[in-house]
Symmetry: D2
Subunit: 336 residues, 4 copies
């Protein structure tokens, strides 16, 4: 039974905590630390039967009973906690991104490597039943070489402007998931990025030099090309579809729907909408990613999403930002 | 926190037990009794943290800490356990059927009524997200009066002959679920049944006067008519679809699929198969039915599937058996 | 170039006439005869370039230039015209039904046989791209033995009461198409029929002892069973779906839709409705059936729908009527 | 009855000719001219009942009985024939493109304008039932402002290398259809283009500096953005899908399939492939575009695809070529 220490008990932390308590096999939540601990968090930890509840993260690092940490705190603390956990010889599951600075990411990866602990980055979409199946089919080689990867990624609603201000922009904050997905699906590194964007939804976003609707095209080392389109306003729900067009045909998935009911009347034929947002769509994937992390430790196998994956997605996001600004294709080699 | 005692820790019992332990809110599994208790069952109960593990069901009935029972034992014990639980003033969730004898079912229902305890029958399909949605839409009245209900219900594979021998026949054992579903979807009582069947799959079944492929048509008190087709061999998976054709249009659901991936090649375009069998398809419905039972006790509201529902489905099955034998339409009133 | 004479230039006649003129290869419309010839019909014939336009059908029979006739007149004239055409050694395409009296049908079939001319009955649905494909796949044997055939057949709107009065009832008028389709799909003769029906839509229909919503179940000589449901009111359009559940799996078709467009909004996701009625749905099938008739003459091969097919569908309809009346299963052998 | 003269009786010419003869209302094919007239073409014209069959196009221009011309000859002759037809005061339907040189296109448009004749360009996809419906829904405004247009456009197989050599490249030859479609769907002019491509299928194409797999992104004057992906090798058939993501939701179409049959077995669930290529997919659209041309003349209304549309698609293709070469976003204003 692997003992986990959680750093940060906000929305995503509690989601993982609930999953570990109820659905993940072979692990238990041993301790929680959050500097901004609220009575609510305490109650929640209590309900889960977690005895060790701290405000000081150091309590986690120095607890020799804890085998691994789940870093679910705010982005600016990820790298620091990661390096401390590595120093304490604890395996690490870190929410994405490790950091927005690539040097800092490299430093963190090195720390984990040097300490000989496992480091997994939480790109949850890779664990989605359907996206994962698409990736698996492409990787099997039975469709032949991938030619085009195509990702539709639209949120049902945008975040508040206060979040947009500090988000790092749509390419870093939102499309970074799709950059990782594209790498996963194609099984090759991105070499060039071209990005464009527009303010289609809320003009107020202009003050932060951000956009709410964007398209990025990618070139891969293995000769494939790709495109991602994102929007902050898909009124019908979370639109998450992927497609890989290969030499022998195409593999794609459709959205998960709220139900499989069809209503036919004289006015219309209606089917269900896609599930609302990531908590609904990636509900099971959140369980699976932590399960896979736990299993990788248990079996001493490689984690399915590495520090390198976390690093590359940030490089691609930076290339997209630069391309968007300069209206030209940016080679990743320019940034490395 | 409602305390539950479980009678029978076989496959279905353990399924409910796991669900109560991990997913059902507001209840805990307090005790388990199974006359044929195996070391496996003990280990399982232990893992769930259940302290009270008995071979004698009486231990459950006399335990004043237990608020409600889950009857998951073999069919021939249902009515007896039900009446004992009623006598002990415990609420009752009983797996279907209560009994195969309608007088005995009536007796059991009366016992629960007299004791003032809640009695719910485990027709799990009513809690399926999609079937439930269809029923809800019809019940809302927005589609107008129902005209035709149509149920496709095919198992991926038949049970062993040893089971067929004691099953009571395809109408009682298998189609009984669909009879309940039909009543649920149409929201009216069945008045007439006509049934036919054939041995299409395994000729060995003939020795038990059973069939493996059957169709029953129904007439309802509200003027609707309906049809159910069942098969013991849908090689592609569990085929569970319902449709209600109403005055203003039609409401139907499609099968749940293993995934939403489509693969297009020069040879074919393939999509996923339906989920394999009832454990996969009604996975979430099993949680929801027990949750609804727990909530009904908590809130003192009516249970969603009553003893009357359990009784009527058996009457319909008996009418189907008679119709099949005599090649004529049988009115339920003949049997009541 | 086969020369065709048409008997009856009503709606269905003109449909065939237009098709022959524009889309059927290897045939031309040489003459038209309609006792109730209107100026409109004349104009239509003129526009098609047909020179020979008569009120007297005899003109068609005695015209030695005419190779084959299309009988598109009212049902009560079919058998007479058929026998006259046979006597004149002309091949015959006859709209369904040949007659409502089975002795008369046999007489007509015999006349064609004796004359050595081809006789084809216009069960147009067999020529539908999708239904035909389903039948072809079942016939290929690759799905194994058929177990269950299932036909959904619902009209978007009912005919006027004046038509209902003389229609012969829903089983003879409407379901006869489905009886033929069932035989086509299963590839075996029907041996038993059980039918039920209700008045769900228009109570005025009761005066003609007819119903507007019905279900019939069938047993086939090869051991398959089947069910057909029909309704006179599918508000969403013509609902025409078939399914054959076989030993190795299932083959089914979906409705033809008005388009392939999906509209997703915050309120709903809508897709197109089925095409409106038989003229839209069987548009191409009407061309194909006449083309196949023409080709069968040209190549001296068997016609795809024979007089025997026309006869059997009427027997089944009669058995359905009797079953409906007597609430019991009727063996076709009772009627033969 | 509008009298049409056809210039060029190759594959596309004969397609239009057959359609005019059989399916287009209000027009007849009066004359055909093809400098490379073959006995086959003569026979075909004869079968259609066309008396005037020439090798010299001038015969068409000087024939005062001819109201309008269909220019179906090779691309290099389009502009010349167009201007001659204009001079002869004949309305003009011109296959795409008018020319590859934008000055020459402008000259041709001016000639038609000055002559007061109608000029329509044959972008057939606009007349596809599904694409047209998508465009119509967006244009209605009920989905709100368009944000993202997305076009998938993949041929089942590439042309021979001999054709690639003279085709003008994938952006001009193939994607030009999609550029027009994008403008049609969004209802606004393209202002910027960024294009990328790869050789994924046949390395031999490198000698012509062409690619076989490409993606172009577009920016529109109304603030929308868009993306098109094309491939010369969709083994499963012609992949033609469009989607417009708008402020209030999304409108998209799916491929037309060969049939609506689903086959479910223990191995797989298969559905039909998309129709094979443009002759199958745009079969009805080819009729509709000529019908609309004929109707526009008959009713003296505007043609649905203008010379301006023809010009703009070439500008976009040129911008795409330049972007591809220089790896940067190209503003259309640079080229105008």
């Amino acid at each position: 039974m692997l003992k986990l220490g959680m750093l940060g008990a906000g929305r995503i932390g509690r989601l993982h905590g609930d999953n570990v308590a109820k659905l993940v096999k072979g692990a238990k939540l041993e301790a929680i630390a959050d500097p901004y601990l609220t009575p609510d968090m305490k109650q929640w930890a209590n309900d889960l039967g977690v005895q060790k509840v701290y405000t000081d993260p150091e309590e986690i690092f120095k607890d020799s009973e804890i085998d691994a940490v789940l870093i679910c705190s705010s982005t600016d603390t990820h790298a620091e906690f990661l390096m401390k956990a590595a120093a304490a010889k604890k395996h690490i599951f870190c929410e994405k991104p490790i950091d927005l600075d690539t040097d800092r990411i490299k430093e963190a990866i090195k720390a984990a490597d040097d300490a000989g602990v496992k480091l997994m980055v939480g790109f949850v979409r890779r664990f989605d039943r359907d996206h994962n199946k698409v990736g698996e089919i492409v990787a099997s080689g039975k469709m032949g070489k991938p030619h085009i990867v195509k990702i539709t990624s639209r949120d049902p609603e945008g975040p508040p402007l206060s979040y947009v201000k500090v988000s790092g922009g749509i390419f870093t904050d939102m499309m970074v998931h799709d950059f990782d997905m594209a790498r996963f699906l194609v099984g090759s590194e991105v070499t060039e990025v071209t990005a464009m964007g527009e303010i289609c939804i809320d003009p107020d976003i202009a003050q932060y030099n951000d956009v709410d609707t964007a398209i990025a095209t990618l070139r891969f080392a293995n000769g494939a090309i790709g495109v991602i389109d994102v929007s902050r306003a898909a009124r019908y729900g979370y639109d998450q579809r992927v497609e890989v067009h290969c030499d022998k045909g195409s593999v794609m998935d459709e959205n998960n729907l709220e139900n499989n009911v069809k209503i036919s009347t004289g006015e219309s034929v209606t089917v269900a909408k896609p599930t609302w947002f990531f908590l609904e769509r990636y509900n099971e994937a959140f369980v699976k990613e932590v399960q896979d992390f736990v299993d990788a430790i248990e079996n001493n196998t490689e984690v399915p999403v590495t520090g390198h994956d976390g690093l590359m997605s940030i490089y691609i996001a930076q290339a997209a930002n630069l391309s968007f600004k300069e209206k030209r294709t940016v080679a990743l080699s320019e940034l490395m």
